[in-house]
């Protein structure tokens, strides 16, 4: 059993090594974009770094969650809806509450949505219905619940909670230490979990080849459910970040739908192949920030950010093709 895990993990690791180059490349691209953006605008300092890092938080969290689920061989189209649901619940429950209570609600929501999505993962695993179908359905249910809980924009949260994510109690113009810390901590935690624990390695293993993983004696269902639990918890974190950013709740369906699509985009751009089993969570993190940065950059060079969607689409199509080409060449040479 132990040797089976060991050899499976080395195979996974070898496959993942080429992807590491990709992860580094995405981070280099992010650095290049940052430098380019700095030359485009008159002043680049604390305000801009804080702005980019805090505005990236919801997408980065969602991308981390989506990355883990995709690595495990699934895909979750309900993550945006879970963000919406958390946003509605948090804005409603946290309104006029003291900070301690708000923190308690936040932890409760992260745990609660983790369990909720674990249940969805369990249903997928037991029923054998494709991930995409089940999560599309649950996505509509969560969006509906969100609207039911918060029928129109409103609610609120504690100023200290906004500081936690944005570095300022008003949500604007704070220090960049808090948002960067809040981005790095969950990212590194999930990254280490995925690479250095038994459950993390089995997530890679089932995504790479679920039958082989089962034959090797891995608990496939447990790994699958775990990936969905992490996805749900990260979506909850993303929902909390949106409440912290705006100080209100916004239950509109389109917000969740956009967030889901962007999370898949970030995962693909981040070098996590949609077939599963490869890629690093850290790549999706950088890709999430890049997608958020596209808007201010495009507007600074005078392109209507509405066209950002076209550029984003072209970027993803290009990434997919390059990825496919790399795999093809490697197979030929092997």
């Amino acid at each position: 059993m132990m040797t089976a895990v060991r050899s499976a993990s080395t195979a996974v690791w070898r496959a993942g090594l080429t992807r590491n180059t990709w992860t580094l490349g995405v981070w280099l691209l992010l650095s290049a974009l940052l430098i380019w953006y700095a030359t485009l605008i008159p002043v680049f300092g604390q305000f801009q770094i804080t702005s980019i890092s805090k505005n990236s938080l919801p997408l980065v969290y969602l991308a981390i969650g989506q990355a883990i689920i995709v690595i495990a061989g699934g895909i979750d189209l309900s993550l945006g809806a879970l963000l919406l649901l958390t946003n509605a619940l948090a804005a409603r429950l946290m309104d006029d509450q003291p900070f301690a209570m708000v923190l308690f609600i936040a932890i409760f929501l992260i745990a609660g949505l983790g369990i909720l999505n674990a249940l969805v993962g369990y249903i997928i695993s037991v029923s054998g219905v494709p991930d995409i179908v089940v999560t599309l359905a649950t996505g509509y249910i969560w969006s509906g619940f969100a609207l039911w809980i918060l029928p129109s924009p409103g609610g609120g949260t504690a100023p200290e909670f906004r500081w936690l994510f944005t570095g300022a109690q008003s949500g604007i113009g704070g220090t960049y230490i808090m948002p960067i810390l809040m981005m790095a901590a969950p990212a590194i935690l999930v990254f280490l979990l995925s690479r250095h624990t038994r459950i993390g390695l089995s997530i890679y293993a089932i995504g790479s080849d679920s039958i082989a993983a089962r034959l090797a004696g891995l608990d496939v269902r447990r790994a699958k459910v775990s990936s969905y639990a992490i996805g749900g918890a990260m979506a909850a974190l993303a929902g909390l970040a949106t409440v912290a950013l705006t100080g209100t709740g916004d239950p509109r369906f389109s917000v969740g739908a956009n967030a889901t699509l962007n999370s898949v985009a970030a995962v693909v751009l981040g070098g996590v192949a949609l077939v599963g089993g490869t890629g690093l969570v850290l790549g999706a993190v950088a890709a999430g920030v890049i997608l958020i940065m596209l808007n201010p950059i495009l507007s600074a060079v005078g392109i209507d950010p509405n066209n950002a969607q076209i550029i984003q689409g072209l970027l993803i199509a290009g990434v997919m093709m390059v990825g496919g080409l790399v795999t093809l060449l490697r197979e030929r040479s092997a």
Binding site: I35, I41, F44, A168, N258, P296, A300, A308
Partner: protein
């Protein structure tokens, strides 16, 4: 080997970003030009809109651009235009602040959620004007159309036409949207003064012409109606009278080009109606206010436009605002005294900002 390689990856990542950030701060020129303006012209104006693909909003942006060009004081207009909520709009506003614009005109997604970023912009010397919908941020300029008066003025005209008694239909917009709530209140204000007017039906059109048309067709073919008040879904309702071959009843709509055209052309066929203005040119008003503030003219912080009523009793006035070259959904009332300085629908429709 494995652990080392991973540590190396993480370290390399952190190093890359740290280097990039340092480079950014080094590359960016120091902020030295804090000389307070009151200069004449050369302004850069940012526009933030979060509803794309909506005719009214597109016309609002075009009116802003047209006014910028006509004023001669604006160097460029930076439009940040995408679908989104407060989260996206906060990011967009921060982007505009970073670009160093002199003024920002926004159609806000939230009454309070944007206050912090707006106040931060104002603190950095940027003039902020919220148009169409209000914000409560301190120091922000607000320019809105009076939605309560929009409904009250139209309804009063309708009730007068009916001699103070009759059966009317209220065709509203979208339930729960602030503008719809305000208009419903305005409608009821007028109704309170006419006890013999009976509202026989009230519908939500969703501000969708085809939905409104279907509802109107059902209503006029099944019951006796003396008048119709609409929340701007007007020309498709008038068409249903022609489709069903039913005699026209007095109808209230907005300053939609298609409706204005009908009022002019079908007046001989007995159509009586009133076009109440809800101009997207409020954007141009916002631009005028921003420029006033930038040039040190201290405009008032709150501007509420009272709607104009154009009726079939004065066809010349209707002809004056009618724009034959534009689409049916075009809002024809574009010249707003004393704010706008462009010349009519053609200028707005050209949709060109300075330097474009």
């Amino acid at each position: 080997m494995k652990y080392q390689s991973q540590r190396f990856t993480i370290l390399a990542l952190l190093l890359t970003v740290a280097l990039a950030l340092t480079a950014c701060v080094a590359v960016a020129p120091a902020s030295g030009d804090d000389a307070m303006m009151e200069e004449e012209g050369g302004f850069v104006v940012g526009v933030s809109n979060t509803l794309v693909g909506n005719g009214w909003r597109e016309q609002m942006i075009c009116a802003i651009k047209a006014e910028a060009t006509a004023s001669g004081l604006v160097e460029s207009v930076v439009v940040v235009n995408r679908n989104g909520g407060p989260t996206e709009q906060i990011a967009d506003l921060e982007g505009l602040i970073s670009q160093g614009v002199d003024a920002i005109i926004l159609n806000p997604t939230d009454r309070e959620g944007l206050n912090a970023v707006i106040e931060s912009a104002i603190a950095q010397g940027i003039v902020v004007v919220a148009v169409d919908q209000a914000v409560t941020a301190e120091g922000a300029y607000v320019a809105t159309n009076d939605q309560t008066a929009y409904a009250r003025l139209g309804a009063e005209w309708l009730f007068e036409q009916l001699g103070g008694s009759g059966k009317v239909v209220e065709m509203r917009g979208i339930d729960g949207v602030p503008a719809d709530t305000d208009r419903h209140n305005g409608f009821n204000e007028a109704l309170a003064n006419y006890p013999d007017i009976e509202v026989v039906a009230s519908t939500f059109t969703g501000w969708d012409p085809s939905t409104g048309a279907q509802q109107a067709l059902d209503l006029i073919t099944t019951q006796e109606i003396d008048g119709i008040w609409t929340s701007g879904i007007d020309y498709s309702v008038v068409e249903q009278f022609q489709v069903a071959d039913v005699d026209f009843v007095p109808i209230v709509g907005a300053d939609n080009n298609g409706f204005v055209e009908q009022l002019i052309q079908l007046a001989d066929a007995g159509l009586m109606g009133a076009a109440v203005t809800n101009p997207p040119a409020i954007g141009a008003v916002g631009m005028a206010i921003a420029l006033d503030a930038l040039t040190g003219n201290n405009p008032p912080h709150e501007t509420i436009l009272t709607p104009q009523v154009f009726t079939t009793a004065d066809l010349d006035a209707l002809n004056a605002i009618y724009a034959p070259d534009e689409q049916v959904g075009w809002s024809t009332y574009v010249d707003i005294e004393p704010y706008t300085s462009y010349n009519g629908s053609a200028d707005v429709s050209a949709c060109t900002a300075p330097g474009e």
